[in-house]
């Protein structure tokens, strides 16, 4: 999967006050240009003391393991990982005896902030269910940074980065945003710097259920027809803008929805496609080829195990649960071995949550999937299984260059677990994001408390 980080281009268009082309194009007048980043990240890492963790079991997130190893974090980055590391004398040392260090968990499917706690009507901001194709909406414009769920994902779940997606009521749900799990006053303050955008798409039951009595689509064939028709419009839009960018002339009409789809066709925005059934995924793959884009990840992907070979060939990730099933027809054929079977076929497997509680135990979801795989005869190691939680989701989000494994130079997004993280008995002991210690089980002052919780009963409690 190749999605360049520079590819945030064409995110949105700014008609006035934007950059212009140079004097060489004077004959064509001032060109209207597209702002790639109209809501730029203002995230800045917090300071963190250099630290060495010793005597610890290291799962590096890429499949590597070091027993009784050492990890050195400084200046917001992973400095060194090994059996022993060279750190300046006097660097703070944490004894990791009996504990594990892993990269922070990355959840590719969250609605925190868009469907926050408390789940009151005033907060239901995840589905712009006013039309089946609404690619013009951006999930980040619904994110409420005071959602207490972010802190639970950090402290109970060891989640250091997450993608917030629009819901699946629409065939085109809108743009996603990738966040650092660091509390901030604004969404921009959490935004993962340089992360590419995603586009949420959906197939199956949800769109036809939501629109069946609102003018359609009312069927799966209707879903596909509307999706194809929308891409045809996007192709025309892209042609107009490509021509304008090449040749100048009249400025084409601006369309926010088409901006996003053009971004997908340009390879700059990653498609995250909610899709449960194997047969529908196969149709979406053909559809994507017809339209001229690549699917990054199928989300929920309950039946990926039936077409794991196809997904491997196409290089498409599957983001899955360990054991969810049966809540609707398209989840009827879930099996416990979905994640390990997809992985075994050589396809990219990801453990995702889609849930404000599940995101607090993604490590345990991976454990269940690993155990199911082992019982089915697949010799899956802990260090291998951690790829489902860090490396593969980082790749799916286009942020693997910066995070998602314990490699020197990467962001120090790190969790120290107080035992084996595949056990129900284990919790995060400390969590660092960009080298800043943002959770420490032994320090009640190092627990994020959102504005919503301040002054309410239970403020600052262990959660």
């Amino acid at each position: 999967v190749r999605f360049g980080l520079a590819g945030v281009a064409l995110a949105a268009l700014v008609v006035a006050g934007c950059a212009t082309t140079g004097s060489a194009d004077k004959d064509q007048g001032e060109r209207v240009a597209i702002s790639p980043d109209p809501f730029p990240s203002t995230y800045q890492r917090y300071p963190g003391a250099p630290v060495v963790i010793t005597n610890v079991t290291i799962l590096d997130g890429e499949g590597g393991r070091i027993d009784n190893g050492q990890v050195y974090l400084a200046d917001g980055r992973i400095q060194a990982v090994g059996q022993s590391v060279n750190a300046p004398a006097g660097t703070q040392t944490i004894d990791g005896q009996g504990k594990y260090v892993t990269p922070g968990i990355i959840d590719v499917h969250s609605h925190l902030g868009d469907y926050p706690s408390p789940a009151v009507a005033a907060h239901q901001d995840g589905n712009e269910a006013t039309g089946p194709a609404r690619p013009e909406v951006w999930a980040e414009h619904s994110v409420w940074p005071q959602d207490p769920g972010f802190s639970r994902a950090l402290a109970n779940g060891g989640v250091t980065a997450l993608q917030i997606l629009p819901g699946s009521a629409n065939l085109f749900g809108g743009r996603s945003v990738t966040l650092k799990n660091v509390p901030a006053r604004t969404m921009q303050g959490m935004k993962f710097p340089g992360a590419p955008y995603g586009l949420k798409m959906a197939c199956g039951e949800n769109p036809k259920r939501v629109y069946g009595d609102k003018g359609g689509p009312a069927t799966r064939m209707g879903n596909i027809a509307v999706t194809r028709q929308t891409w045809i419009e996007a192709q025309a839009y892209k042609r107009k803008w490509d021509k304008y960018e090449a040749d100048g002339g009249d400025v084409p009409d601006r369309d926010l929805a088409m901006d996003t789809l053009k971004g997908v066709l340009d390879g700059d925005i990653i498609v995250h496609n909610h899709c449960y059934r194997a047969d529908e995924m196969a149709i979406m793959i053909d559809l994507s080829k017809e339209a001229g884009y690549k699917i990054g990840t199928f989300h929920h992907a309950v039946e990926s195990y039936k077409i794991a070979d196809l997904l491997a060939r196409e290089g498409i990730c599957s983001a899955m649960w360990a054991d969810w099933y049966g809540f609707k027809m398209e989840s009827y054929d879930a099996i416990r071995e979905n994640i390990p079977f997809v992985d075994r076929a050589g396809a990219c497997a990801i453990v995702h949550s889609d849930d404000p509680n599940g995101i607090q135990r993604l490590n345990q979801e991976a454990a269940k999937a690993m155990a199911a795989g082992r019982r089915a005869g697949l010799p899956i190691t802990e260090e291998y299984a951690w790829r489902w939680l860090s490396m593969n989701p980082a790749k799916a989000l286009g942020i693997f260059e910066q995070t998602g494994s314990l490699k020197p130079g990467k962001m120090a997004d790190v969790v120290l677990w107080n035992g084996n993280p595949f056990s129900t008995y284990t919790r995060p002991e400390r969590v660092w994001v960009d080298g800043a210690l943002l959770y420490d089980v032994n320090n009640p002052r190092l627990r994020p408390v959102s504005d919503f919780e301040l002054g309410n009963v239970g403020e600052g409690d262990v959660k």
Partner: protein
């Protein structure tokens, strides 16, 4: 019924002396489910479907079928403390979903006839070691959801262990909504319902039972076993009534204290109102479901003696009645002396009751978190076995491996509260159960994706 199942049943028949079926599970790490710590090298003996002995130093009776559980863990079957198991096959398929109703009745609703033992979630939970489930209806019309049951998850097609075990009523946000928009309205509706049921109870002297005899004293009258009984038709009622006759009759066992009244309450103030209800109506056998903020009133709860079925792992202020949610809720209530069981409440309880064993394990893990309160391993297992049974007054029947309990036993590959273990054998009433599910069949069909001589549809 699988071939393995038949074979094991055959083996049983051959091994046991005529008239008695004895199974001895030997060599495993045995946990009784009563709160005690597991012991190694224990033996569990089941005779004619009941546990007769369990623990260390238990002799294997002559003629017993011996099941070697060396290296395994052995526990009572898990009891889903609060669920909707058997009421739903696929949630979003309305025809297969019998949780709630917009029909005219409320308290009279009885889930027993709706239980479908062939619903896929039953087998899936059985395969995870859930052998019994407390099944509650969901409120559809009014604050009373109706009468819940205890079921088993066995493959014999006879799921109902105890019909009409309890009445379920909503007294929190949901109750307020059902009552027209306020908690105050819900409380008036509750008191009015108890009044109407009390009048029927008091007037029962004139009611003939089905055999045509008049009961001598209505207060000793057995539970109104079935609201459809003809005797209830003739109950005298005054004209100031809101409930249908069937609904009012169904509440007679509640006001008589013969049937538990399970009340959903989350907020601290709602819990306090339930405690107050106990003082106002001492005959009520109250149980609280939910109690997300229970830890904030734990001492009052303990003093009231009202037991609680709680979610294990709420940590989010999901609503304004759960602002104080914490994973430490169960542990703190337990430490204060509240009787607490774990249920799956608003937590995919139609399908995912089996998650409770991992939830219980998470509570054990809280011991390592400063400031948190969890459970010991033995208490955690009890919270998903004996505690829900005892809370609902059926602890003598199910939920532990104490002598006399039904022979519901699970053999696990390892520690049942941890993620890597699986149920390897499940006995219900002493009968070994099939562990195949739709999921295992699909797994086996798609174990390989290589193209065969025939399509996948022929692989089974």
């Amino acid at each position: 019924v699988t071939r393995a199942f038949l074979l094991s049943a055959l083996a049983l028949a051959l091994a046991a002396p005529a008239g008695a079926q004895i199974i001895a599970i030997t060599g495993g790490t045995v946990a009784l489910g009563d709160g005690s710590a597991p012991v190694q090298g224990g033996t569990v003996v089941i005779r004619d479907g009941r546990v007769v002995a369990a623990g260390q130093g238990v002799a294997v009776p002559a003629g017993a079928q011996v099941v070697d559980a060396t290296g395994k863990w052995v526990t009572p079957g898990l009891v889903a403390g609060f669920s909707r198991l058997g009421l739903v096959d696929v949630d979003a398929v309305a025809g297969s979903n019998d949780q709630s109703s917009d029909g005219p009745f409320s308290a009279a609703i009885d889930v027993a006839p709706a239980i479908n033992p062939n619903a896929a979630p039953v087998a899936i939970n059985r395969a995870e070691g859930i052998t019994r489930a407390v099944v509650a209806p969901a409120a559809g019309k009014g604050i009373f959801a109706g009468q819940g049951a205890l079921i088993d998850t066995g493959a014999d097609g006879q799921p109902v262990t105890r019909a009409r075990l309890f009445q379920f009523v909503e007294l929190g946000e949901e109750g307020a909504e059902q009552a027209g928009g306020s908690r105050a309205s819900a409380h008036v509706l509750l008191r009015n319902a108890l009044r109407e049921a009390g009048q029927i109870s008091g007037g029962a002297r004139t009611i003939r039972n089905e055999a045509g005899r008049e009961p001598s004293d209505p207060r000793n009258d057995p539970v109104v076993a079935n609201p459809n009984e003809t005797r209830s038709y003739e109950a005298r009622r005054n004209e100031d009534v809101l409930l249908t006759r069937f609904d009012a009759v169904a509440l007679v066992p509640v006001v008589q204290g013969r049937q538990a009244l399970v009340v959903r309450a989350q907020r601290a103030s709602d819990i306090r109102q339930v405690i107050a209800l106990k003082r106002e109506f001492p005959a009520l056998r109250l149980v609280i479901v939910g109690a997300d903020e229970g830890w904030t009133v734990a001492r009052e709860l303990a003093a009231s003696g009202i037991p609680v079925i709680a979610s294990a792992l709420t940590s989010l202020p999901g609503s304004f009645e759960s602002l104080a949610s914490t994973h430490s809720n169960v542990g703190r209530m337990r430490a204060a002396g509240v009787r607490v069981a774990i249920g799956t409440i608003d937590d995919d309880e139609q399908r995912m009751a089996f998650r409770a064993r991992w939830y219980a394990g998470n509570l054990v893990g809280l011991a390592k978190v400063p400031g948190a309160a969890g459970l010991s391993w033995g208490e955690a297992l009890a919270a998903i076995t004996s505690a829900p049974a005892e809370v609902l007054g059926i602890g003598n029947e199910v939920g532990s491996l104490r002598p006399g309990r039904r022979g519901d036993v699970v053999i696990w590959s390892g520690d049942p509260l941890d993620n890597l273990s699986a149920a390897e054998a499940v006995f219900i009433d002493g009968v070994q159960q099939p562990l195949e599910t739709r999921q295992t069949r699909l797994r086996d069909r798609y174990r390989t994706l290589e193209r065969g001589a025939l399509p996948e549809a022929y692989r089974r």
